[in-house]
Point group: C2
Chain length 318, copies 2
């Protein structure tokens, strides 16, 4: 089987749809590259783009898109709710199939070198690609944002990993790196009680005594509160456990769970793992013959999924 990598660049433009179309154009109609999602957010003034495909092809296409974003977006005139430091703000590469973390780190460094060489945008390596512990977490790098970045780069501790210690005058700086695959999953609680949802989130996450592979917190939406989480390894902590544990903890507060949603892509194996529990199977072997539609239906019904469609499943695209 071919190697598959996912890349989820975040561009600092969420309002001008024509501009966004020009930025993502290099990601379309390319062999071995599939543009899976383009999600502009006007309030954030930011667009999250999802691409999967063969590593070399994805890297080349992403570098082209970054080139267009560098030309099109001027951060001196950018306002939005989301913190940002660059026209292309962050570029995570995620190993999906037959790719190791190490190979993906190498790929992210090749991408960083090209971005620096071609566009004079300084690059910080982050997450698994980071060159020092304080660069692992994106918020550390982004602190100060675009407006503070010129001064920050003069501090020897914050020399970029690629390029000069001067920001690109309109495109700022960018963070590029490999991050492990994770499931981003949110559960809707029919309440406006953020404190209760913070309690629930703490009860299920590792750092609160909860499940080993869950990071979670509360997020206030327009008319409900979510328990928003990352499941960092669904083969260890199954997603159905997250859902059932939130339901259980919510009973204490008489809070009803009204839905849940996956953000980004989910592998078929994750859906099989969930479906096997609700279908009362000992393991997911019997599900090998299920179509993606059948799997989606079982999971959607039991997790009360909102906004789920087949194109959220990695195997739908490859």
């Amino acid at each position: 089987m071919n190697k598959i990598v996912e890349c989820v660049p975040n561009f600092s433009e969420g309002q001008d749809l024509e501009k966004i179309a020009r930025i993502v154009a290099p990601l379309k109609n390319k062999e071995h590259v599939k543009l899976v999602g383009v999600e502009p957010d006007a309030i954030y003034n930011r667009t999250v783009v999802t691409v999967i495909g063969e590593p070399e092809a994805v890297k080349q296409a992403i570098v082209q898109a970054i080139g267009i974003a560098t030309k099109e977006i001027d951060l001196n005139h950018h306002q939005g709710e989301h913190k940002r430091m660059g026209a292309t703000d962050v570029v995570p590469f995620i190993p999906i199939r037959n790719m190791s973390i190490e190979e993906t780190v190498v790929l992210s460094k090749e991408c960083a070198q090209l971005v620096s060489d071609l566009y004079d945008v300084p690059v910080f390596l982050y997450n698994q690609s980071a060159t020092s512990p304080e660069r692992e977490k994106l918020p550390n790098i982004r602190k100060g944002e675009f407006e503070g970045m010129a001064a920050k780069l003069k501090d020897p501790q914050w020399y970029p990993d690629y390029g000069k210690n001067e920001i690109h005058p309109t495109a700022g700086v960018v963070a590029i790196g490999c991050r492990p695959f994770l499931i981003a999953y949110n559960i809707d609680c029919q309440t406006m009680d953020k404190e209760a949802c913070a309690y629930i989130a703490k009860a299920i996450r590792l750092t609160g005594g909860g499940y080993q592979c869950i990071q979670a917190g509360p997020a206030v939406m327009a008319d409900f509160v979510q328990v928003t989480m990352n499941v960092t390894d669904f083969t260890r902590t199954s997603v159905y456990r997250a859902f059932e544990a939130v339901k259980m903890e919510a009973q204490r507060f008489d809070i009803k769970i009204t839905g849940s949603e996956f953000i980004g892509l989910v592998p078929r194996a994750c859906l099989e793992d969930i479906a096997a529990y609700y279908l009362k199977m000992r393991d997911s072997q019997q599900l090998a013959t299920y179509s993606l539609e059948e799997l989606s239906q079982v999971v959607s019904e039991n997790l009360l999924l909102r906004g789920f469609s087949l194109d959220k499943i990695i195997e739908y695209h490859v």
Copy 2:
């Protein structure tokens, strides 16, 4: 408030009840020492004794009991299902109130010194008191049992921490140490399917992707299988979570949960924490006015507790 320590010595005699009565006699009618449990097991040929009280008084009383066990029990004629290396096999001290791990380690070392000096029984310090990593776990120390211990002590790696490198001819050697407080808790599954219960145990324990402070495994009983567990810190992973998570995982196998039981002592705070969840309280503050009886009733009903009585609650005794 006074310092309270628990001590749970295990003696290698589980059949001769008169002998056991003589061994535990020094633990009775002592000021600041309360004998909470004496549980002989004829098949194991071993008795687990539970004492709580003020540290110095507990230590002195325990040393006396060990003295009698040393005289009364001859391991050259001991047979039983449980592994053992000494007349007094293991002596854990557990901090209960106003005691740090460090203070409890000191107490265990004072006890070890006395046992070695008074009775010529070599002592290994174990668990938190261990003097090297390979001595932390009791099974490492006990490997070879009484019959292999004379030879083992000649290996410089296994010189005892106190006393000469020669076993006591009839009483062998003993392990003494501080171990952290934990809740020993078992959940009864109405099934003889050990494999399913092993799956459930794995799903809830940290090493299987489960809860942070749960260690668990399956245990086959006469007519059901238990998920047997240690909750190593109930202030982080609440016991109600263990119970509800086992129920949830058991649904996959259509296994009914018919009961649960605490082994050994439970602090009031643990019961409050459980009751607060089932009474739908945000925290356990409102439960401060509840009597031990009232707390016990709420917890017993909801966890389907077997064999629970007030004398299992630490605060009942102090």
